[in-house]
């Protein structure tokens, strides 16, 4: 009984924080990128950089971390048909865990992208880290492409997350 409750709770939290992470990712890409460009052109972009982006990036990066940790925990509560721990079976792309494993690998790449590429470059763009104008322009391009890459990867990632329990489509 506790195992089922534990699995349900972990899945629930994983989905909630995953919505926050990918929701903010879509906000950055589908709403903010063009809106900030227009606001900057009109000389009104400072408020976005000062009040919205730091707060949005705070929830974005911590939701990414929590999504990954809880997802890893959820996989660890499972066991493959061959008796392997679910985390190892998924990341080892083994048997019935291969589809969710592909989703887990894509989510891992996205998570690393957030913490290793997007956040350090956003710190330069927002002036939280010292940077010259040239460094800021470079950081803007790198952060933009990493964010777009994550948006692209989120599409197959979500597919494998939601089709994990529907094994028949993979046979």
């Amino acid at each position: 009984m506790w195992d089922a409750i534990e699995g349900a709770l972990l899945r629930w939290i994983h989905v909630l924080v995953g919505i926050m992470w990918v929701g903010l990712l879509y906000y950055f890409n589908f709403v903010n990128a063009d809106a900030a460009k227009q606001a900057n052109a009109a000389g009104e972009g400072a408020a976005i950089s000062k009040y919205i982006m730091p707060r949005a990036l705070f929830f974005f990066r911590w939701a990414a971390l929590l999504t990954w940790i809880v997802g890893a925990g959820l996989l660890s509560t499972m066991q493959s048909a061959s008796g392997l721990n679910g985390f190892l079976a998924a990341f080892g792309l083994q048997g019935e865990f291969a589809p969710i494993g592909i989703g887990a690998w894509l989510g891992t790449i996205m998570f690393i992208n957030v913490w290793a590429i997007i956040w350090p470059n956003q710190q330069k763009i927002l002036g939280l880290k010292p940077a010259t104008d040239e460094e800021k322009a470079k950081a803007r391009r790198i952060a933009f492409l990493a964010s777009r890459a994550n948006t692209m990867l989120s599409i197959p990632m979500v597919w494998f997350m939601v089709t994990g329990p529907h094994q028949s489509i993979y046979h």
């Binding site: 061959s82 083994q94 589809p99 990867l153 989120s154 197959p156 597919w159 494998f160 046979h171």
Partner: protein, 37 residues
């Protein structure tokens, strides 16, 4: 060649193409690594 990630449509279409590619990879992996496979 233009980077597809520079446009939202290019990003979404690239994601859908990747989904199809990974779907077949997943089918192949399930068949190859399932018990007795």
């Amino acid at each position: 060649m233009k980077n597809p990630l520079d446009s939202l449509w290019g990003t979404v279409i690239s994601g859908i193409v990747l989904t199809v590619v990974f779907f077949y990879v997943a089918q192949w992996l399930v068949a190859r690594t399932s018990a007795g496979g």
